[in-house]
Symmetry: C2
Subunit: 351 residues, 2 copies
């Protein structure tokens, strides 16, 4: 497998992976519907041979959860959560790469070393966070933690991005509930800028800048929902209509620091938030991305971007954005929908 | 007319216009096809009353081109190019604004003062750059220059973005050939970062960083096309598949510095490049944006982004990008298509 090349813009601090593994010819872009209509979903149980061997599976054995991986050509079939390498990886581990560009080009570049995985969230094709069982979401969150821990242990990994594409407008090519995980050899621009500000604020004040923001947003008209451990709000300068962020109230740099009560409460927040989003807007396409850096001054959070409008020439060429829904109005609508969702959920689960 | 508010992110250097002028309710986002199917195109001749009065029209009078605007309730109907204020402006001029937010919020913000215009490129609905007459494109480029000059003359304008959205995947809501112009009260992030690098390089070396890049790219496998005054190439770290940039060879900071020969050569480059793009990929959606700053160290250029793939959770949450087509391959394909387009064009026009 060839390593992809990462290139930096001539002058901007902007990195691009040239992912020739995913190479397509011009004619491929001309088709009206370019996504393969698979008769069999490669992520559904029974089709495990359609993906590379799993690096992690959760299994139930005699009423107990155990972890394993696919080995010796045998693939587990009775998994509850399954994590596999991406068939067309953007980032490749140094050990699995036969050769690659040498990282020396006409301008700044490097090898796209890292990992690119798909975490299949459930054996049930449609068990997306907005409709999932809380017990299943707890498994998914634990699987995120397992993969994060493993990937962060590699010296060549500088950041782990856990993100989700839901719906074709959000770039999802397969509809089975899944999350993607990319481990990158650099700290990406947006999280680097966040970390720099966190470190500066920490050094100046001894406090976490996000802890202060959480405290302010709790009392604002942008607050959407909170439980004992988490807060959901529409950010002050939301880039997307109905964008919302989820923060742990307790200062922690990554999801590895959550205790079991927090994991359960996050699962409930997931179910209520994404269920509310679906209720309000009719299952819109969305992306989410965790922001996590194992540094004492950083405060992890999840950002959710509904894909209701398109970034056009202005946004793409300037880096400024236009949002047609105010965060306060978005929060008010989301709050109502999420409250209803949570009431329904309480009735169903009896807690 | 109320002024919109611009908000800065809690910690990132990222600005968003909260454009409540364009306000929509949640239910509006639920419709499968949200764009109005207009029985009459508001940009076609005869429908001038469907837009605000023109701030600029080009007219032909006795074989000569003249410039005028709509005045005293009368709208010109026999225009060749027509520029009107956007009905739902993101930025509004201070004089036309009755009131607005006071620019003081819980976090950093300011009034969205500026201008937002639509430049209707031709009376012919479908006269897009890829198929337009060279003579019409020369009018369009001259109209860009006229509006740029006028808008830059306002003290409150810090940047003028001239951009084009082509096709619904690129955010175009109307299909009549048109360009948008936004005058903003701040220098947007991407062009500011470019300017900073240009100034640093200028001060260190006495040269323009883009002049050096042009010289290098002329000899590279990313070169697509050139004439006496302009160069077209696929940038080294292209963010989009088949992205290309157009640069004037002569160092100039904005299109106001072009002479009449350069204007004509740019019109030819437009026709050949966008015609080639259409030939290669079947009239794909695309955005383009001019980068122009009236500063001696800046070198204006046009960036063209075909919209063939979707930015997903990774791109949105990290600011890193994945491009599935290498710039060298894109250049090779575009070069062939543009050469063919140019040959056809020469046959047709006989020059």
């Amino acid at each position: 497998m060839l390593l992809n090349e990462m290139r930096k813009d001539y002058i901007l601090d902007r990195w691009v992976v040239i992912a020739t593994q995913r190479k397509r010819r011009p004619v491929d872009f001309m088709k009206a519907e370019e996504r393969r209509k698979l008769s069999h979903c490669p992520f559904c149980p029974g089709n495990e041979h359609m993906t590379p061997p799993a690096v992690l599976v959760y299994l139930e054995r005699e009423g107990k959860m155990i972890k394993d991986k696919d080995q010796n050509g045998v693939r587990h079939r009775d998994w509850l959560v399954r994590c596999v390498p991406n068939l067309y990886p953007a980032f490749t581990s140094p050990s699995s790469s036969e050769s690659g560009t040498d990282g020396v080009g006409e301008y700044e570049c490097m090898k796209a070393i890292g990992h690119h995985e798909v975490l299949i969230e459930s054996p049930n094709h449609d068990e997306h966070p907005g409709v999932a069982r809380i017990s299943q979401l707890i498994l998914v969150l634990n699987a995120y933690r397992d993969r994060l821990k493993t990937l962060l242990s590699h010296k060549y990994v500088k950041y782990v991005s856990i993100f989700r594409n839901h719906g074709s407008d959000a770039g999802a090519s397969l509809s089975h509930a899944h999350t993607q995980i990319m481990a990158t050899p650099i700290l990406p621009r947006i999280v680097k800028e966040e970390l720099d500000k966190c470190v500066d604020f920490w050094n100046e004040t001894g406090r976490c800048v996000f802890c202060d923001i959480i405290e302010k947003e709790r009392g604002s008209s942008r607050l959407i929902w909170e439980n004992e451990s988490f807060l959901v709000f529409a950010p002050w300068a939301s880039v997307h209509p109905f964008e919302f962020w989820i923060f742990p109230k307790r200062h922690q740099s990554t999801i590895l620091e959550m205790d079991s009560k927090e994991i359960r409460e996050l699962a409930v927040i997931f179910r209520a938030s994404f269920g509310g989003l679906k209720r309000l807007l009719g299952d819109p396409s969305y992306n989410f991305g965790f922001h996590m850096i194992p540094h004492k001054s950083f405060h992890w959070h999840l950002e959710v971007y509904p894909r209701l409008t398109v970034w056009a020439g202005f946004e793409k060429s300037t880096g400024m954005f236009i949002n047609v829904v105010s965060p306060e109005e978005a929060a008010s609508n989301l709050k109502e929908a999420i409250n209803k969702e949570f009431e329904d959920l309480k009735e169903k689960t009896g807690n």
